[in-house]
């Protein structure tokens, strides 16, 4: 017969009904606080204005609203930056693992440099300094900033993933005459993807969120669109709640998508 476990605080709080009630109460308090806060400021809620920034029907027919345009720009910006960051990150990781003293030196310097500069300063560096020097526009400056910043984190993910493949795999590859490059390509990297997929997803989400910072150089992505709408309408509460929800929706969809892919991948190996 199982010994009845003592009733503890954690056990009470973790029973489903208690947890649900607590959760609803916490959400209610937050919503109530923002509403009463807004009410006291004499805030004039205009939620009915929001849908037209997603889509509208005019005489020309269906039209996409500004928020959707901004969301699309954020997706393209993040995707471009992520692809570039992955290429850079892989390069840095391979340099670091190359066994060349020079390679390791260059990689470590790059990593320390990128890691110890605030993202905002990096953005200014690309936009105000390197932009004029090399003649690229704000979009390119934004992509490069995000790519460089995230390549540092991604290179660590690659390095950890590559190192988690057993050493015997290198030896087996070498023993059939493979070069280092062939061993990476056919043996090591395919195996390390399994270790890298979860942290890489986290990194995409991180990148999408930090892409908001490029609104300070007025790249027309989601956050910039939000600012523009507010400067026309003064609906800061509705717009920021909406923009936050759109980011949340985007990153959640992404996380669910990747975890589905991961499951398929896990069952295959």
């Amino acid at each position: 017969m199982p010994v009845p476990r003592p009733v503890t605080f954690t056990r009470i709080v973790n029973t489903t009904p208690v947890a649900v009630v607590l959760y609803v109460m916490i959400v209610a308090v937050i919503v109530w606080a923002s509403y009463t806060g807004a009410q006291q400021m004499g805030y004039n809620w205009q939620w009915y204005q929001i849908p037209k920034y997603f889509y509208r029907f005019t005489d020309d027919g269906f039209q996409v609203g500004e928020i959707i345009t901004g969301l699309w720009a954020t997706i393209v910006l993040s995707l471009t930056s992520f692809i570039l960051a992955t290429v850079l990150g892989l390069g840095v990781a391979l340099l670091r693992l190359s066994g060349l003293v020079v390679g390791k030196g260059v990689a470590v310097t790059y990593l320390e440099f990128v890691r110890n500069i605030p993202l905002l300063v990096l953005l200014y560096l690309f936009y105000y300094v390197l932009g004029p020097v090399f003649g690229f526009d704000r979009w390119t400056a934004a992509v490069l900033t995000l790519a460089v910043f995230h390549s540092a984190l991604i290179s660590e993910i690659f390095r950890a993933g590559i190192n988690s493949v057993a050493n015997g795999q290198w030896e087996a590859a070498a023993s059939i005459g493979m070069s280092r490059a062939q061993a990476y390509r056919y043996i090591i990297l395919p195996q390390s993807v399994r270790f890298m997929l979860p942290p890489l997803t986290g990194e995409v989400v991180h990148l999408i969120k930090s892409s908001a910072i490029v609104s300070v150089i007025a790249v027309a992505e989601l956050t910039t669109i939000g600012r523009n709408i507010i400067s026309d309408t003064y609906m800061s509460f509705e717009v920021w709640f909406t923009i936050a929800a759109v980011y949340l929706a985007l990153t959640l969809v992404l996380s669910f998508g990747v975890s589905a892919v991961e499951k398929r991948f896990q069952s295959e190996t």
Binding site: A166, G168, Q169, E171, A172, A173, A174, S175, I176, G177, M178, S179, Q182, Y186, I187, P190, Q191, T269
Partner: protein, 247 residues
């Protein structure tokens, strides 16, 4: 039998820091010869055969394998490894590939055979190690004995001129040792030049042309099996044999 040497070690030494894993090793392996290397744990057996295909760089002496003089970062080392097969204690199969792909990847990517040729070779050697029906499985779905036979087939698919074995049966459950040794005996019967590190003395008696006994990084005794098993010249080898034959 023509006596053309394939592996010639001349005063080979290997240091890890100030620890000497190999000291002044002299050894010659001729074409079609089967050499069995034994000795206590830590005596340098693995280090020695890993030097033979450049997985370990020797730090002194001369080592020539298949006519190629080995030295660190030699550009010829990859060519050499294609002609020297290696079987590891832990199998080291590629877990993300099927059995067939494990066998085909070397011939295709390294030997540059086309897919059909590579597959024909792979199936031939899978047949040889008696597991043709496992071609489409992943290594993890096979027993240890089957995995090691796949590993042997993978090495054979490169059509090597020498095969190196580093304790191929010591990671196996006892009931699977036989199936792997059988495959190795058959391979010996085809005339393959083999260097085998093993403590399976029954196998050694059956196939060895030469027994090599190592201790503390040195070759203590090199003799034909008849002499080695009945009347070893060194006391060390005698003690070692007494110990392992007791079991």
């Amino acid at each position: 039998m023509t006596k053309s040497p394939i592996i010639v070690a001349n005063g080979v030494g290997k240091a890890f820091g100030d620890f000497h894993a190999l000291t002044d090793v002299h050894m010659t392996v001729h074409k079609n010869e089967r050499v069995v290397v034994c000795g206590p744990s830590g005596s340098g057996k693995s280090t020695l055969i890993r030097c033979f295909n450049g997985l370990e760089n020797h730090s002194s002496g001369n080592l020539t394998v298949d006519g190629i003089e080995l030295y660190p970062d030699s550009p010829e080392i990859r060519q050499l490894r294609q002609d020297v097969g290696m079987v590891f204690q832990q199998f080291n199969l590629f877990p993300h590939l099927t059995v067939l792909e494990n066998l085909m990847i070397g011939p295709m990517k390294v030997r540059k055979l086309d897919r059909a040729q590579a597959e024909a070779t792979a199936r031939k050697y899978l047949e040889r190690v008696r597991i043709p029906e496992q071609a489409d499985k992943r290594p993890a779905q096979l027993s240890g004995g089957q995995q090691q036979r796949v590993a042997i087939a993978r090495a054979l698919c490169m059509e090597p001129r020498v095969m190196l074995f580093d304790e191929p049966t010591s990671a196996l459950d006892p009931e699977m040792i036989g199936e792997v040794l059988d495959v190795m005996v058959e391979l010996a019967d085809t005339g393959m030049t083999m260097v085998v590190v093993t403590h399976e003395m029954g196998f050694a008696r059956k196939v060895a042309d030469t027994m090599v006994f190592m201790e503390a990084g040195r070759i203590v005794e090199t003799s034909p099996p008849e002499t080695f098993f009945t009347n070893p010249t060194s006391d060390r080898a005698r003690m070692f044999l007494d110990q392992i034959l007791e079991h």
